[in-house]
């Protein structure tokens, strides 16, 4: 389509005043708040870690040393690869994937139920119940989980009282608390997109399939899931991205042995004071996540355009 025509239509539809405002607002949003900060981070990531007086001096040249560090480790280390950081990186992505799948398994049935039952009051209350956890801030939520899952927490106490276990289970060390906390935090982001598409699915299609003898699993496999695919993929994308990039939950709920990649980034920025290295690590995480999401979408034949629907 012709871009000029596109602008003409846009202004014809919204009027000059509103049209200009929308355009400026979107441009501001995209350029100032999204593109510029990322570009400066990208720029950072290719610079040497220098003390402030030397910045802009002759030593301030572009380098890929931080990227090299992530892959190969410090020069002269005893392993040829940066096993520690790469390991954390891989584990973070796997864990994020796991959280995503966990949320999908939990949320799909719920979203289906919410979307297909034409109920009034009861359904609205259910949805409201799903929103309430978001009124509580992230830190509080994470610590609440720590308490519930702690050695003398609610769950251990209950299982002990019921005689299911004889010694308290260390949910924190086993990362159960972390997965539960992350999964719980993003449940809504998974439910709503799926709920939205399923709500628009014509009930008659489900009945038609049933009329033709299909058992429930085939109805889901052939009718509901294909229809809900855009919702499922936007839910999965959000949950995956946000879990991989989460910081507070891993910090508070993670076991001592499990470091999240974001924590390493945070350390470089904060205690390490090495911003270029932190930026490089963060960019690697971002790009990898985007690649994973795009290839997943490719694999499941979802178009980017479908997701916005």
């Amino acid at each position: 389509m012709n871009v000029g025509q596109l602008f003409k239509d846009f202004f014809a539809k919204n009027g000059i005043g509103l049209g200009t405002f929308l355009l400026v607002a979107v441009l501001f949003w995209v350029v100032i708040l999204i593109v510029l900060p990322q570009l400066s981070m990208l720029d950072f990531s290719f610079r040497h870690h220098l003390p402030p007086p030397e910045m802009g001096g002759p030593k301030d040249t572009y380098t890929i040393e931080h990227y090299k560090y992530l892959v190969l480790g410090a020069p002269g280390a005893d392993t040829s690869y940066n096993v520690v950081d790469l390991g954390v990186f891989g584990r973070t992505l796997l864990a994020a994937l796991f959280v995503t799948i966990l949320d999908l398994l939990l949320c799909y049935p719920l979203a289906y139920y919410l979307g297909q039952s034409r109920g009034g009051g009861a359904i609205r209350i259910l949805v409201l119940l799903l929103i309430i956890p978001y009124w509580i801030n992230e830190i509080l939520r994470a610590f609440a989980f720590r308490i519930i899952f702690g050695e003398s927490g609610l769950i251990n106490e209950m299982m002990l009282a019921m005689g299911l276990i004889s010694n308290p289970v260390d949910f924190i060390r086993a990362n159960v608390a972390l997965y539960a906390g992350l999964g719980y935090a993003y449940i809504l982001l998974m439910i709503f997109p799926i709920y939205n598409v399923i709500e628009s699915l014509d009930r008659n299609q489900i009945e038609a399939a049933r009329d033709m003898g299909a058992p429930w699993w085939r109805i889901h496999w052939r009718i509901v899931i294909p229809y809900a695919k855009p919702g499922i993929s936007s839910g999965c994308t959000m949950v995956f991205m946000l879990s991989a990039g989460a910081l507070a939950a891993p910090q508070i709920l993670g076991g001592p042995s499990s470091l999240w990649f974001t924590q390493i980034i945070y350390q470089w920025f904060n205690t390490g004071g090495n911003w270029p290295r932190g930026a490089a690590f963060a960019i690697v995480l971002l790009v990898t996540c985007i690649i994973i999401v795009l290839s997943m979408m490719r694999l499941f034949k979802v178009k980017i355009g479908d997701i916005g629907k």
Partner: protein, 370 residues
Amino acid sequence: MTKGVDVDLENVWIRFGDFVAVREANVNIKGGEFFSFLGPSGCGKTTILRSVSGFLEPSEGNVRIGGRDMAGIGPNKRPTALIFQNLALFPLMKIWENITFSMEVKGASKAERRKRADELLDMIALPDQGEKLPSELSGGQKQRVAIARALCAEPDVLLLDEPLSALDLKLRQHMRTELREIQQRVGITFIYITHDQGEALTMSDNVAVMRAGIIDQIGSGHTVYNDPATPFVASFVGENNVFRGKVKSIDGDMALVSTNRTGELLARIATTVQGSLKVGDPAMMFVRPEALNIAPDISSAPNRFAAMVKHEEFEGQIYNVFLEGSEGKEIKMSLVNIGKERQSAEGMNLTLEYVPEQAIVLPAGELASE
């Protein structure tokens, strides 16, 4: 092909809470018959159909298909296939996959399914369209795909819920003929739902006319049209002019009705109320627009009444004359266009006559609302 089987509803009641959607339905549909439920919107047609297809259990009474009681048997286990009011094609499946979904469920191989899809696509005159998606077809084509999809399941009974209502007039008339042909070819029982009386009359062997959950009459299109059992049927099926009054005298199957404002009119007593209609009963006399004619002279007779022409409508093969009689309601007369100069003009006073045997007397009752 499988031959159709009987479908029987025995004293079926369907309630939603306190609301009675279907009241004491007794229907016997013979195998291989084209049977229609005809009634205004919201009268419970879809509800009855859903109880036959198994999406709904009757609150009371039995549904039998091929003599077998269907209580507790789900829609996926019944020998019926339902065509939905909105067709409900699967939008993300290709046409051939849509058509053969029932075979996929049974685990048929892809080759088998393709073959069967091609056969059915030929039957519905859509060869080589199997690779398309439903959104790429026209309304009439989708319609035919829905029929093919239902037939592919080889049901004993095909249930159709106003499948033509979304189509334009021309296509609708064409599809009527086509549906009827398909039914005769496959020979299975068709249960068809419509609020369009023209559709019901042209296609069906038998029609059940429904009013607010009650089946008023079951019979052939001919019977329902010519010998209605209730004022509702008389006024809902086709058009009718109604005269209210009391039965003055009865002679055999003929009755003289003294109407409230139009004098005494003679008409045949509807078959179902012969014997039960008594002198003095409040009654309604119905005479159809096409049964009315302009009398050759102005002398009075019990099959004549006077009316003034208000306006006319030319329809091509007929022209409709709307007149004001003494009943207050407009009277409609349809005259066949035989090419002659019309004899009526606006404001003209006419004497109309009809053949008494073509008019019907029924006990007074509820009319279909326009």
